[in-house]
């Protein structure tokens, strides 16, 4: 039972990270109807920028953890957002209104490019940083197995909840959110009533990239190890998370690695994705789409 609780906590943490990446997918998919294949790479870039910022801060002598964390978050969000914006501008905007597969192919190309770009510049070897936030609560005493909730996990879950709340606020309450929802329904009509469609789509990419950057920082802190290849798998899993819900996918992964062979945990996630898509093609909580002719 204790073991189950431990895996539950780990799964929730993982799910929070996947959920943050997944938002970028769903937003972009909602607004321009394409799977942003390069989104996983954006997250990878976020992780790299956070490692670089940590090293810079270490050299500069800023060691007070909350301040360092804050600066790293800001840096990662800033630079990663610019990557998100540029990718949209260069690889997707010229293809708007083109045929359906073109932006997807362009996105796959962008993803390959970014992976190799980072590999060439930063080296193919894994980057490790020392743990920044240590310690935690011990939830159960005694027994064969004690359940731990680390401070880092608390930070990750709280930060995710806060970001989700802010994101929901932006989408439902602000003028930007209204514009985004308008573009999602009908870009032409939104343009006719004065919404700057290009700008809205750009901002959507920036928002998605910012959230992915936060996920990148979190994963750097959580595992302490990153390499240029983390983007691809995380991207696919986050897409799964977009369909199933981030928490779901985190739980599946944690439970599977807790009770079964770790090496097959991705197979489990994919299989469940396939099953869900087959029986509920619009996602676990989505409403079925009616096809109009």
């Amino acid at each position: 039972m204790e073991y189950f609780f431990q895996q539950l906590i780990n799964g929730l943490t993982l799910g929070a990270i996947y959920g943050l990446i997944a938002i970028g997918y769903t937003m972009v998919y909602g607004i321009i109807g394409m799977i942003n294949f390069a989104h996983g790479e954006i997250y990878m870039i976020g992780a790299f920028i956070s490692v670089i910022s940590f090293v810079v801060l270490g050299t500069a002598g800023i060691t007070w953890v909350p301040l360092a964390l804050f600066i790293v978050l800001i840096m990662a969000i800033l630079f990663t957002s610019i990557y998100g914006w540029t990718i949209e501008r260069l690889a997707y905007r010229p293809l708007r209104g083109s045929f359906r597969l073109a932006p997807l192919i362009s996105a796959i190309g962008m993803s390959i490019f970014l992976q190799n770009y980072v590999q060439l510049l930063q080296g193919a070897r894994r980057k490790t940083i020392p743990p920044v936030i240590q310690g935690g609560f011990q939830l159960t005493e005694g027994g064969a197995f004690s359940v731990n909730l680390s401070y880092l996990q608390v930070v990750i879950i709280l930060l995710t909840v806060a970001l989700m709340a802010a994101f929901t606020f932006v989408i439902t309450r602000t003028s930007l959110g209204r514009q985004q929802r308008a573009c999602e329904q009908d870009k032409l009509m939104a343009g006719l009533v004065g919404v700057n469609v290009d700008r809205t789509i750009s901002l959507t990419f920036v928002m998605g990239a910012a959230l992915a950057a936060v996920a990148g920082v979190m994963v750097t802190l959580y595992y302490g190890v990153i390499d240029f290849y983390i983007g691809f798998l995380a991207g696919v899993k986050a897409f799964t998370a977009a369909v199933l819900g981030g928490i779901m996918i985190g739980l599946i992964e944690a439970m599977w690695s807790g009770y079964f062979a770790t090496s097959y945990k991705d197979v489990a996630a994919f299989t469940i994705l396939v099953l869900v898509l087959i029986f509920r093609p619009s996602g676990l909580l989505g409403r079925p789409e009616v096809e109009k002719v």
């Binding site: 799977i35 790299f48 062979a261 994919f270």
Partner: protein, 495 residues
């Protein structure tokens, strides 16, 4: 980044210098922010911890190049291509003789000035540099149509050239190796084209069938001592079965969901191959896969007792290239078989149904076409071609491991199909030559290969969104009749 400079008053002579500089400076600022963390600050691992190495020269170089390039693009757009062309040439020549940090800088500068120079040249010829998306689509379609017309003559010439290739004087082992590689990808591209180009389904996991074919040959040969010729059809069958297994549940999904599920399937196959070490050898793969024989004549220098080898039978001196030439003809024959079958399939009701499904799913259903069966057929046929290519790959390499079947392979095959122009058989050949053959001759720049590959995928898509040679003419339309109508000739006129 809207075109600030193009808002200038029309009567005003010369470009608005301030606006141009402002726009270029903005772009340069973005370039600066992009390159500052990843290019300017490089992480270096030393003894378990990470330290930083600064490289601000590259950042400055990148920012400067982007600034100049942006000015060049604006001037091209505004109708001053001549100075741009001159400056691009000067910079390209100058850069060649200047010492720069790293070979990448040379590549970037030369490629950049080449693109700008070409753009300027086009602008000089056409008196404007940019076409609208519709105009480009139209032009592309015209080119595609022309290519389709001349494909009748070019196709046989290409085939004849491919058959004659091993006999040409410059065909050494290295060139044949590249040719075999390109042929394999052409075959895979033609196979995938049935799903993507004809049936209009985006399959991101085609490499799974390739893997099934390769592993089924390797395993059958390892455990049951089956010969290549027996395994080849079996591999095709197994892959078709895998296509059936995957296809049946997922074909009800549409568009992007379908793409992701096929991607997931490809990854599942790879992870299983990686982890099921008892059977597949795990990450070590399977080595010592037997080579095919020429109607029972092996290509060994000194064959086993009682076995005549190829060179003994024909009374030739032993030459290792015999095997390579044989493998080359094998893959050529397989690829041509795939081509022939898919060309003929297009003429069958099945092929017509695919193309109709590609154009409109719902209309087809209304017409009473069983779309699940049609798509399933496309999936199985395409998968079996992938399986054939896979077993050829296994026998050619003699060694396979899960590493050869990663997602990137699927992406490359898909890129060949889409960049070539969906549904165009000749386009796939050209795309395979460009994407697979060309990089093989730049082995010195090996580390930049995938970088350039990804970038060229983006650029070709932005430049030609429908692929290099796309021309969508329904094959059932009375196309000659329609052409003649368009040309204003009477329909019944002499040919």
């Amino acid at each position: 980044m809207t075109s600030i400079a193009s808002n200038k008053v029309a009567s005003e002579p010369g470009p608005a210098l301030g606006a141009i500089l402002r726009e270029a400076a903005l772009t340069a600022l973005v370039a600066f922010l992009l390159t500052l963390p990843l290019v300017g600050l490089r992480t270096v691992e030393s003894g378990g911890s990470v330290s930083l190495r600064t490289d601000f020269t590259s950042v400055a170089l990148a920012v400067g190049l982007v600034f100049l390039g942006r000015i060049g693009m604006i001037l091209n757009r505004e109708g001053y291509p001549v100075p741009v062309l001159a400056v691009a040439i000067v910079i390209a020549v100058g850069a060649t003789f200047t010492p720069l940090p790293g070979s990448l800088a040379y590549v970037v500068i030369l490629a950049g000035s080449l693109v700008l120079g070409l753009q300027a040249l086009l602008a000089i010829r056409r008196s404007r540099s940019t076409l609208s998306l519709q105009e480009r689509d139209q032009r592309m379609d015209q080119i595609g149509a022309k290519v389709q017309q001349i494909a009748w003559y070019v196709g046989p010439i290409l085939v004849a050239f491919a058959i004659a290739l091993p006999m040409l004087p410059f065909a050494d082992r290295g060139l044949l190796g590249v040719a075999i590689l390109v042929m394999t990808y052409i075959m895979l591209g033609w196979g995938l084209n049935i799903i993507v180009g004809l049936a209009g389904l985006l399959d991101l996991g085609y490499v799974a069938f390739y893997a099934v074919g390769a592993y089924s040959y390797a395993l059958l040969a390892q455990w049951f001592d089956f010969s290549f010729w027996l395994c080849l059809p079996l591999a095709g069958l197994f892959a078709a079965f895998a296509g059936l297994l995957l296809g049946y549940p997922v074909l009800r999904l549409r568009g992007d969901y379908f793409a992701i599920v096929t991607l997931g399937f490809g990854e599942i196959i790879r992870i299983v191959l990686l982890n099921w070490a008892d059977v597949t050898g795990g990450p070590n793969g399977i080595s010592g896969i037997p080579r095919p024989s020429f109607f029972g004549l092996p290509f060994d220098r000194s064959p086993d007792e009682g076995v005549t080898s190829f060179h003994q039978f024909f009374g030739l001196d032993y030459d290792a290239t015999h095997r390579v030439i044989f493998l080359y003809y094998l893959i050529l024959a397989l690829a041509l078989l795939v081509n022939l079958i898919s060309m003929r399939l297009r003429k069958l009701p099945l092929g017509r149904a695919w193309e109709a499904l590609r154009e409109d799913d719902i209309a087809c259903q209304a017409l009473g076409i069983n779309r699940t069966n049609m798509k399933l057929a496309a999936f199985m046929i395409s998968a079996s071609f992938g399986g054939l290519a896979g077993s050829f790959f296994a026998t050619y390499q003699g060694f396979i491991s899960p590493e050869s079947f990663s997602f990137i392979e699927s992406a490359i095959i898909l890129a060949i199909v889409v960049l070539g122009g969906m549904g165009s058989q000749l386009g796939i050949v050209i795309a395979a030559l460009l994407l697979i053959g060309l990089p093989e001759f730049f082995r010195g720049l090996e580390e930049y290969r995938m970088l350039a590959f990804g970038l060229s995928m983006v650029l070709i898509m932005v430049w030609r969104p429908r692929g290099l040679l796309a021309h969508r003419e329904p094959s059932l339309l009375f196309s000659k009749y329609a052409d003649r109508l368009r040309a204003g000739k009477p329909a019944g006129g002499a040919q």
